[in-house]
Symmetry: C2
Subunit: 300 residues, 2 copies
């Protein structure tokens, strides 16, 4: 194209790519060697096909450096970068979405925190934060619909204004995140508040990237779930609010049709007898877990 025409023609291919690729021939772990070699092929191909300039290279170095440096115990900018490039969603599809009968998975996202506070059946995980009350009535089954007892269920979400607790320095400790347990019948009920759409953090390098791409930064409203149960594959997923904003342009490509669910508006007394003033929402959903599959990492 016109742009490339401004630079003198490159000399014939130098063999550099194959020279670099060959240095991975004797990696102690063959899988590692193959991954690095193929990464080099793709990177070199990207650089040459696009005739990447030194300025652009320098910009990329600087971008990656800032992305690492803004990351911390509670902020993972590289996960966010992977998310907005659809890479997380692609890895997720390869890993988790191969059995059509299970509940589809969705990306972990940057806001999961290991070891959320343990809470009891029926608890309110909102920590008293303002919002439309949400009653969740969850069932966890196997592929035949039989209840899976004793599942460990981590739930996390943003508040009414679209912030996670780790983004709110004034909060004292975790809220809107909890570790709950399904009962012997695979059932789990809890209170929270209705999640809202929210911007991913755009005060860092990923925000500059979205700006340069002319893209918005909003995620469709959702609740995060991570479900583990003995004998079953872990399920990491999200339940999106049907009718919510940005369902067709989610900034991190997390929406799958089977995960868009009615959060039904209700009035009057709640199932557990709680008196609610005004509207509340009811979420009923059944998660279908897959059994364990053989280990995937064995080599040759």
């Amino acid at each position: 194209d016109a742009w490339a025409g401004r630079r003198p023609e490159p000399r014939r291919p130098s063999g550099l790519t194959e020279q670099v690729v060959a240095t991975f021939d004797h990696a102690p772990d063959p899988r590692t060697g193959r991954l690095l070699a193929d990464l080099v092929r793709h990177l070199h191909h990207f650089v040459t096909a696009n005739d990447v300039t030194e300025d652009e290279w320098r910009h990329a170095i600087d971008f990656l450096t800032r992305t690492g440096q803004i990351s911390s115990a509670t902020r993972q900018e590289f996960v966010l970068l992977s998310d907005v490039l659809g890479v997380s969603s692609m890895v997720d599809q390869l890993t988790n979405s191969r059995t059509p009968d299970t509940t589809p998975s969705a990306v972990l996202g940057p806001f999961y925190v290991e070891g959320p506070p343990e809470m009891a059946q029926g608890a309110d995980i909102s920590g008293g934060l303002h919002g439309t009350p949400l009653w969740a009535d969850i069932r966890i089954t196997d592929l035949d619909g039989a209840p899976v007892p004793g599942a460990v269920v981590d739930v996390w979400q943003s508040n009414e204004d679209g912030f996670y607790d780790v983004q709110l320095p004034d909060l004292d400790g975790p809220v809107l995140r909890a570790r709950l347990r399904g009962d012997a019948d695979g059932r789990l009920r809890f209170w929270s508040i209705l999640p809202s759409e929210y911007p991913i953090p755009v005060d860092g390098p990923v925000g500059r990237l979205l700006e340069a791409a002319g893209r918005h930064e909003y995620r469709a409203p959702h609740l995060h779930f991570m479900i583990t149960a003995p004998g079953f594959q872990r399920l990491v997923t999200q339940l999106f609010v049907a009718g919510g904003a940005y369902l067709d342009s989610d900034a991190v490509f997390g929406v799958k049709e089977a995960l868009v669910v009615d959060y039904v508006p209700r009035n009057g007394p709640a199932p557990d007898g709680r008196r609610v003033d005004g509207e509340w929402r009811s979420l009923e959903f059944t998660f279908r877990l897959a059994g364990h599959r053989p280990a995937v990492h064995t080599e040759e």
Copy 2:
């Protein structure tokens, strides 16, 4: 292959890649949009072709994060990563090596520091560090061999043990790096010491990568040069010591045949009258600079 066979077949392509690519269609700067779109294509292709697992993805996120966090004003681990993957050398080839009559360029490397100390013709840039004395007699010409007057020449190198000053916390200020000026005849003479092969820094993530690849970390011995002169393209290059170690397996793929030069062993008085006890080396080299080319960044 056998490995892939252990995982259930992926469902048919989901269209995710094209969905992500489409989000770059309206980037304010079209070049940026094309680069990001093509980057996404290559990343997704890499991930799917290699069936990258969640564990591997997590490892990559962690690796990139550590690479950013170890970087500082005097250490650029992403440049080093780019170097050991041959990406820097590829960008260098695309940018600088298109005119066969100029001195070839070589990568900048991670140890250049902006604004080195200014020193006079004939100075010794070694700061008195131990080593084999090296007398450099440099000429700077245009493509016709006519002298280029008044060039600004930054020189930097490792010490006899293979360390750059920024790696030696006990040193007080910069040594073995200087900003010199060619005279009106395009000539520049200075003293230093003979450079030796050296390991790139392997106490960070790039060191782990080389380990995992089963690769050594040594660079062939060289002097770095950055030459700027009004009316000419900047030349960043390295002069390698003929007969030195690792010339055929330089860890950052910097060696080009035309840059391998004799550092001639000598005895007796030096050209400037300095008395040297024992052997010293003499480096004579002519840098041939290219004239300016038109700007390369103009769009459509």
